[in-house]
């Protein structure tokens, strides 16, 4: 574990100022924050009042406020389903797998890119790895299906060329998660490395010089200068990502799902979609969404407090 050097400024003890003076000092900030705050209130918080339909039986004629309360009924519908536990576990596992596997790679890529001596190669690599992000999910999945096809897919043809037997990847439950995660990493690594690249640009060049004079190798330099400098970014991003752990995207899983891999591929969003196919019950989907949010919140707070303890980075 790296020692997280204070890349940020040292803490100044807060001199005791009177309440009045504090407000006065903050005045310009109040002016600046006004616009964002108004935005939040109108476009985020006001609609949140509408989330009450999770506890209601929403009727259009009666509107959000006039519809009757049903308490926890919508939640009960979700939890009483015999598959709800499996679904929640699937969502967690898939999300965690993705989070842990995908996290280090963009960082490594950013560091390597940063150290690249040839600007041409650096720019070229950045550009190429950035591109897969723009492939739509539909095409990505269709390529996955095509490449893993048991008789004509290129992956199996390679396997056969090396003397192995063809495998029906999408037809085996055990491969689903890995295919999902690694194709996702393939698609988004280049794009996600950009933020780390940006963070790396902030390292003062003098530190490099000093390190070189001290005879430090590149590797040591990265370990003791680069990484600590971007550690706040890394940790912040990690915390933010745990805050969306249950909100795993719908489209890609839905497209990759087939009736063989549903034991692991049925997640909350695909399940809610299927229920809603028959009877688009907005109360139900709002209830499930609320459940997701609460769990995400708990996890975020957890990771945040851990981070507060062991590093100096915190999101809240």
């Amino acid at each position: 574990m790296f020692s997280v050097k204070q890349a940020s400024r040292t803490e100044y003890p807060m001199p005791s100022i009177s309440f009045r003076k504090r407000i006065k000092k903050s005045l310009p900030y109040y002016v600046l924050i006004a616009l964002p705050l108004i935005f939040l209130l109108i476009f985020k918080y006001y609609p949140m009042l509408g989330a009450q339909i999770a506890f209601k039986d929403y009727k259009v004629r009666l509107g959000i406020w006039g519809s009757p309360w049903v308490g926890w009924e919508n939640f009960a519908t979700f939890f009483q389903s015999p598959s709800s536990l499996t679904i929640i576990v699937n969502t967690f596992v898939l999300s965690l797998y993705y989070l842990i596997a995908s996290f280090p790679i963009p960082i490594i890529m950013a560091i390597f890119l940063n150290e690249c001596r040839s600007t041409g190669f650096k720019k070229f690599t950045q550009m190429v790895t950035y591109m897969p992000y723009f492939i739509s999910t539909v095409v990505l999945v269709s390529m996955i299906l095509q490449f893993t096809d048991v008789s004509s897919g290129i992956v199996n043809q390679l396997i056969q060329a090396f003397g192995g037997n063809s495998v029906n990847f999408m037809g085996k439950v055990e491969y689903f998660r890995s295919i999902y995660v690694w194709t996702g990493i393939w698609q988004s690594t280049g794009y996600s490395s950009i933020i780390y690249l940006a963070a790396l640009t902030g390292v003062p060049l003098e530190l490099y010089e000093a390190a070189r004079v001290d005879g430090a190798s590149k590797f040591k330099r990265i370990l003791h200068i680069d990484l600590p400098h971007i550690m706040p970014t890394i940790i912040t991003l990690f915390i933010l990502n745990t805050g969306s752990i249950l909100s795993i995207g719908f489209e890609k899983i839905y497209l990759m799902q087939n009736s063989i891999n549903t034991p692991v591929s049925e997640v909350i969003s695909t399940y809610v979609y299927k229920v809603g196919l028959i009877n688009s019950n907005f109360s139900f989907s709002t209830a499930v969404g609320l459940f997701n949010s609460v769990v995400n919140l708990v996890l975020l707070l957890l990771v945040n407090s851990l981070s507060k303890k062991f590093s100096d980075v915190q999101v809240i």
Binding site: L32, F39, A199, L240
Partner: protein, 304 residues
Amino acid sequence: MILAQANRKNQIRQRWDDNLFDVISTIFLALSVLVVAYPLLYVVSASFSSTNAVMAGKVWLFPVEPTLVAYQAVFTYQSIMTGYLNSAIYTVCGTAINLLLTILCAFCLSSKDFYGRKIVSVMVIFTMLFNAGLIPNYLLIKNLGWLNTIWSLIIPNAMSAWYVILMRSYFSSSISRELFEASSLDGCSVYRQLWSIVLPLSGPIIAVISLYCAVGIWNSYFDAFIYISKKELFPLQVVLRNILILNQVDMTTVADLRDMASRQGMSNLLKYAVIVVSSVPLLVLYPFVQKYFVKGIMIGAVKG
């Protein structure tokens, strides 16, 4: 003299482990390029191949029976230029508004002098986790009279908690406090600090957030789908999806089978062409942003 000699010595002797590092780094990056390049090439090649070749699975690396038929279908479609124009407008406006709100918010949240900072912080994060859901948002936009207007596309997502947190983190860690101390001793107002200190030093983060934001808006489909029904206002993604649908075969509406069969091939081809068409502007944009990701670009400003 001795110093010069020592420097030269350091320059001449490249460390062996640095070399090793460079080799590993180059291998990693080159592999990344290869792994990424093949499927990308496939997409481009498929888009330039004939429908029969794609249907029969004959395309592997290079276009088979090259034709421009898919691109013809896309570009002769009336609304494509409107789509490009609209998307460009929404992206530029949306990114600008986003940047404005994000910078203001992040700046305030990064300053210890802001009394009430914690509360606002929590408020911002909360919105990242809790979303009202489709109906309340739709009703709000409807009641504001913003259906079928540009506002429904650029305002509701005008500030994202993610970007605010990221920017705040950048401000806190990359802009040293001494600058603020010194400047306020010099009588610099908070506004001036924002304008003359924070902004010039934030090139990279502003570049990144702008890029992520622009890509997000450019690629977005859902908001336009919900709020816009007037053709003249469709962004590119909606137009492209329409083109795909034109050529899709919906088995539930078995109408004329001859027509359906001829469309099936086209639709396979189009989905690749559509990716190329839609992502080219963003790819062209990237080099402009890339120049901000150069080591040490922000150095020198500190001395000032």
